[in-house]
């Protein structure tokens, strides 16, 4: 009997998968699964630590499009090119697959993929006499936010991430900055955070949040905003496409039948402010149960698993965003946010995220090892600015400085 230790994040899809593993163990009675379920930040720290120090505690790690290219390049992950044909690698969405492939080797299997988009309240828009275009601009968003805001009634026109963290506010802001023509680094890896484009991005963001955002937005992350939206306190919310299934779920959401979707906004500069992310399963190179781990990864990311979820929990709950075949499925097409999700994912291009040329890949991140640390600190400065503790200029100057320091320390 082999034991496969799986480190996962504690989000809904992963928890659901834990509940369905009987199916896998029935097929593979000689494999025992051990789950290590952790909150996202803890998970990231634990797996990074483990893989960097070659601790070998995990056989399968849940990682994202940020880690895969970096770790793959280091040779820390087992190539998944040899997964069985039935698994059908060619079925993966090209943008997603591209993000998980390094030099032709697929290093992680996508469990679900996501982009970001606008979720809005159809009823409130109607009440304001407005209509949301398919592909709004930032100015249209601002106008809609202004129209829907009713602070007395605790309805805030727009909810955005404000909580500091490279995977929190900086994911949103980096994606947003792309549509403002900003970039993290120029071709020589010189940071541009206090440049005009970033300043414009952050000022616009502040303007939205301060005027139409909920109180205490600087500590709101995905969860907090989800909860606010579900309670009907947000007019709009720009966030991950996976959120669509939660906000349209009548069990948790008071506004389930009033949610509309739109592409992330742009500024007419050719790039939209949406991101691309895939929670994926990778196998660390030191694992002593590589074969069993591969079997598990193949099962969890297979079409059959999708079907299994659909049969047990309904199509709205299947992990989205990874396979073309899912979007070609007639059943799935009925899901209200399916098309918009696919559209959003296709609209992202990790290899050319910004208007100007960049030396890196990654839409809402820069795929270098130092980025997480840098962006978290930058996020903290911006969060502090949002909380009113400093001006945007101060925040960005500090961000520029600390980024320079870190990049220098890393040897750029």
């Amino acid at each position: 009997e082999t034991t496969v230790t799986i480190a996962t994040v504690n989000n809904g899809d992963m928890i659901r998968m834990q509940g369905l593993t009987d199916d896998f163990t029935a097929q593979n009675p000689d494999i025992k699964l051990e789950w290590v379920t952790l909150e996202e930040n803890v998970l990231r720290q634990r797996v990074t630590q483990d893989i960097a120090a070659k601790g070998g505690q995990f056989d399968v790690m849940t990682i994202g499009t940020y880690e895969v290219p970096i770790w793959g390049k280091q040779g820390w992950l087992v190539s998944l090119n040899d997964l069985p044909d039935a698994w059908d690698a060619d079925d993966l969405l090209p943008a997603i697959r591209g993000g998980l492939t390094v030099d032709g080797e697929l290093y992680a299997a996508p469990f679900y993929g996501e982009s970001s988009m606008v979720m809005y309240r159809k009823d409130l828009m109607a009440a304001a006499g407005m209509e949301m275009p398919e592909a709004p601009t930032w100015d249209e968003i601002k106008a809609a936010a202004a129209a829907m805001t009713d602070k007395e009634g605790e309805v805030y026109g727009i909810c955005l991430r404000g909580k500091a963290g490279w995977g929190e506010n900086m994911a949103f802001l980096t994606a947003m900055s792309n549509s403002f023509g900003a970039r993290w680094f120029d071709e020589n890896w010189k940071p541009e955070l206090n440049g005009a484009e970033w300043t414009a991005t952050v000022n616009y963001y502040m303007d939205l949040m301060n005027n139409y955002g909920p109180p205490g937005a600087s500590t709101n992350g995905f969860n907090e905003n989800l909860s606010l939206f579900q309670q009907g306190k947000c007019g709009m919310w720009i966030d991950a496409t996976v959120a669509a299934s939660f906000v349209t779920n009548p069990k948790d959401s008071t506004v389930a039948d009033q949610v509309g979707f739109a592409l992330a906004p742009d500024n007419g500069m050719g790039k939209r402010g949406n991101w691309l992310w895939a929670w994926s399963l990778g196998i660390p190179a030191g694992s002593d149960a590589t074969d069993a781990a591969k079997k598990f990864v193949a099962w969890a990311t297979s079409k059959e698993y999708t079907a299994l979820v659909a049969s047990k929990e309904g199509w709205a709950n299947v992990p989205p965003g990874t396979r073309t075949s899912l979007y070609e499925n007639a059943e799935y097409a009925k899901v209200p946010f399916a098309a918009m999700t696919l559209g959003s994912i296709n609209a992202a291009d990790p290899t050319a995220p910004s208007v100007k040329p960049v030396p890196y890949t990654g839409v809402q991140f820069v795929a270098i090892p130092e980025f997480a640390g840098i962006a978290t600190q930058v996020g903290q400065e911006i969060s502090a600015a949002l909380a009113g503790q400093q001006t945007v200029e101060q925040a960005l100057d500090k961000a520029q400085m600390l980024t320079s320091e870190e990049m220098e320390a890393a040897g750029y």
Partner: protein, 276 residues
């Protein structure tokens, strides 16, 4: 002092103390209450205090989702084991310091305490590498050793202060009576220091139970204690206050109950030599 306290003053004291006590206890009470609410009631506005539909649903969900008993068991083994091991190593050391003091005794004691000032994050990497080398990652024994080392200075200090209050003449009497060193410590010193040892054990079980850095970083699945259990509930998608409360309640309940049952020992024993 022993003059009869007027009834009025006693009522005022009682009222003041109970208010302060309840205020301090309130967060825990609120957590426990919330764990019996539905998610909707948990965030209802205005908040409901007692008039809600009590439900065990959250506990069922939490128990279904994770193997609570294993986390609990690991916590017990790790907290208990590290304390026990610490006591076994500390008793002889404290004996030496208390009964055969030298000029350096105080220095050694303070030095031991200063090892606790080593910032854990600063030495995580080295320790991690050592643990990999020794194959101790995700093993209970590894954690037992680490937590024992972390708490050893405190254990030694506490035992030292208790031992110092035991008159050396009694140990000399045992020696005259023909007891070997081992017998002296085993039959005379240790039983006499039982109250002190009990409160030392208690405090250290609490400290080990609540230690959240090493237990989280050095375990994965097999040896993960309740601190890891709670880490999987800390912010799931959506604000599941009720489930979070249920998980929190389950994580702290065992130690809270232990603490309450033994609060007498803890209260009377926690002096660190602060009282003379």
């Amino acid at each position: 002092m022993a003059r009869s306290v007027t009834q009025k003053r006693k009522i005022i004291n009682t009222a003041a103390a109970w208010s302060v006590g309840l205020l301090i206890f309130f967060p825990i009470l609120w957590t426990i209450l919330t764990s019996f609410k539905t998610e909707a009631q948990a965030i209802s506005d205005p908040p409901v205090f007692l008039a809600f539909d009590w439900t065990l649903e959250n506990y069922t969900v939490v128990l279904e989702r994770s193997d609570y008993m294993r986390f609990l068991w690991n916590s017990i083994i790790i907290a208990g084991g590290s304390t026990l091991l610490g006591i076994i190593i500390a008793i002889p050391a404290a004996w030496s310091m208390a009964f055969v003091p030298s000029k350096r005794t105080k220095d050694i004691l303070l030095w031991m305490l200063s090892t606790k000032m080593l910032p854990a994050v600063g030495v995580l990497y080295p320790i991690y590498l050592i643990f990999i080398k020794m194959g101790l990652l995700d093993s209970k024994i590894g954690l037992v050793v680490v937590l024992m080392l972390i708490n050893l200075p405190i254990i030694v200090w506490m035992l030292y202060t208790y031992f110092k209050e035991i008159p050396g003449e009694i140990l000399e009497a045992a020696r005259m009576d023909g007891a070997s060193l081992r017998e002296e410590v085993l039959y005379v010193l240790t039983p006499m220091a039982i109250p002190g040892i009990a409160s030392t054990v208690l405090l250290n079980v609490i400290l080990a139970w609540n230690e959240a850095f090493w237990t989280l970083n050095l375990t994965a699945a097999k040896a993960a204690p309740l601190t890891a259990f709670i880490a999987s509930y800390s912010s799931p998608e959506g604000l599941f206050y009720a489930k979070l409360s249920a998980a929190s309640t389950m994580a702290i309940a065992p130690i809270l109950i232990l603490g309450w049952f033994s609060q007498k020992q803890l209260v009377s024993g926690l002096t660190f030599g602060a009282v003379k």
